[in-house]
Amino acid sequence: MTAGLPFLFVASGTGISPFHSFVKQYEGLDYQVLHGVRLAEESYEREEYESGRYIACTSQDEKGDFHGRVTDYLIANPVNSDTLCYLCGNCDMIHDVFDILEKQGVKSENILTEVYF
């Protein structure tokens, strides 16, 4: 596994499901999870991740870790260009995040996608 490189997991809704088994499988991973949900109560997988690594981006309430969409979070918090990015969930979210990451210098081959809906 591309040791030492930072990982970014971006999910919308149920698109979060593949990520927790991934982080469990590769212990010691340097990762950040961005989970786009409408309300903070929908961030049901928070406890699966080490504290500080999971950020719920809530678009319809202010009870999450960040108020706004995952795209807003990424614009406010650019990633390093060597980050390996996994995007999973809604296709429109994936397209928007893909554009932002490319603008931030991440190569397209380092952006893996899984369209759920």
């Binding site: 296709c91 397209h95 893909f98 397209s108 081959e109 996608t113 899984e114 369209v115 809906f117």
Partner: protein, 471 residues
């Protein structure tokens, strides 16, 4: 007693049908191509295409009417979505998954059908099951160091039944069933389930038998052949190693055979697959590499899980290692949300990769596929324009290849009578269609040399020069 079988859909369904035919033959049924004559009628269905599924409904309503006048048993199997399966249960006498094919004789007998075989004195379930059991499997052989397959009992698969081949010179060997890719336009992962690889030793045995019988064209079938073996978690060889062993065995056999495979996936294709193809003369120099779209964003929406950069890399290996190979592809135009600019990128891909052939489809949502829930927002007229434009682009590229064949002597496998009266046709190693004047049907199933006299984008015509040559 006679049976009639209707097969719809892809080559995988046709390979499954050959196994159903084998079971029916062992049960003592004769085949008829007239459905009115049959005592049992079956259909190998395809839920993946709406037209095919409509055909199933129209056929069964006709057959069910015949039941007022005669004894008739109907069955359906194949690639079926759960929704369709529920409906079929009410319409057909027997509905079974291809994986249950070995139990089909029992189902027929339990349905009260007296099969020709069960008319003989002893009829027990065990005997009936025997009818559909594999005649021979890998454990009989220690093939080229093939590794043992999983120790955990795998679910039964259609390939465990020996097929009746419909041709005496070309055959299809299923090597894998199911798909884990979940392209958003495709229902196959929902109809055929997850990827299951057939033991390599069984594949090698089936191929060896076919080659010994003189088969000239063998196609390995799987939804995503490049992930062959991965489901066995290290207990099975890779697709490249499988090709290498098949190529080695075929080369050493002294027989002339072209071995093909379909379909590979650009994301999982590895350079060693192409290297294996380059190493063995029996591995045909033809690659069918689906591109589907030339635009990265459309590929994301399709959930193809590869970029154009990745596709380019794979085609680069093919050009480097197999300079004479032909390149075929699949393209979908008018996929949900495809803009004019995105379509232009597909046109650019057509020019860049200079395909010999492309199967272009206008997008239509398929029940069961993820994209079925999305608005099919590209008007039909636009899809038709894109289809026509891309076909024109393809023709321009393809004719550059066929023009190079003019005046050349080309070896072909004769496959049958051509639509043009007094002509036979076949294909080159690269699967380019060739026709020539002859009514000598004894040439069908042999290799011949043809001197090419005229060319079109996807086919060429010439004069027969040498009969029944070796490749």
């Amino acid at each position: 007693m006679k049976y009639h079988l209707v097969t719809l859909g892809c080559q995988m369904n046709h390979a499954d049908a050959e196994r159903v035919q084998a079971v029916m033959a062992k049960l003592g049924y004769g085949v008829t191509d007239k459905e009115e004559e049959a005592d049992v009628i079956g259909i190998i269905a395809c839920s993946v295409r709406q037209k095919a599924i409509d055909k199933v409904y129209s056929k069964i309503s006709k057959w069910n009417k015949w039941k007022n006048k005669k004894n008739l048993v109907t069955f359906v199997s194949g690639c079926i979505l759960p929704d369709d399966q529920q409906k079929f249960l009410k319409l057909f006498d027997l509905v079974f998954d291809m994986k249950e094919l070995s139990s089909f004789p029992i189902m027929l007998s339990q349905y009260g059908v007296t099969t020709p075989v069960s008319n003989t004195p002893r009829v027990h379930d065990a005997d009936m099951e025997e009818v559909a059991r594999p005649a021979s499997v890998a454990e009989k052989l220690n093939l080229a160091g093939a590794r043992p397959v999983s120790k955990v009992a795998a679910p039964p698969q259609t390939w465990e039944v020996e097929p009746v081949y419909n041709s005496s010179f070309e055959a299809f060997i299923p090597i894998q069933n199911g798909c884990n890719k979940f392209c958003t336009f495709c229902a196959v992962p929902y109809t055929r389930g997850r990827e299951v690889s057939r033991p390599s030793a069984d594949i090698l045995e089936e191929a060896r038998n076919l080659i010994e019988k003189g088969y000239k064209s063998i196609t390995l079938l799987g939804q995503n052949v490049n992930s062959y073996g991965l489901d066995k978690k290290g207990e099975e060889i890779s697709f490249a190693a499988l090709l290498d062993r098949l190529g080695g065995m075929a080369d050493a056999s002294g027989q002339d055979v072209w071995i093909y495979y379909t379909s590979p996936h650009p994301r999982d294709m590895t350079r060693d697959v192409i290297e294996a193809m380059a190493r063995h003369r029996s591995l045909a120099k033809q690659v069918h590499l689906p591109v589907q779209s030339g635009d990265d964003k459309v590929l994301i929406r399709m959930n193809r899980k590869h970029s154009m950069a990745r596709y380019r890399e794979v085609v680069g290996w093919i050009h480097d290692l197999l300079p004479t190979a032909t390149l075929f592809t699949d393209v979908i135009v008018g996929f949900t949300g495809e803009t004019d600019e995105q379509f232009e990128k597909t046109r650019a891909a057509m020019r860049e990769f200079k395909y010999n052939m492309a199967y272009i489809a206008m997008y239509s949502p398929r029940p069961g596929a993820a994209s079925f829930a999305w608005q099919d927002d590209i008007p039909h007229t636009v899809k038709k324009e894109r289809y026509a434009q891309l076909t024109e682009d393809l023709e321009k590229e393809a004719i550059v290849h066929t023009k190079k064949m003019k005046d050349q002597m080309i070896r072909i496998l004769v496959r049958g009578k051509d639509r043009k009266d007094g002509y036979l046709s076949g294909h080159t190693e690269g699967k380019i269609v060739v026709r020539f004047a002859s009514d000598d049907e004894s040439l069908i199933g042999t290799f011949v040399d043809v001197k090419i006299e005229s060319v079109r984008p996807f086919s060429v015509e010439g004069e027969l020069v040498t009969e029944k040559v070796a490749i």
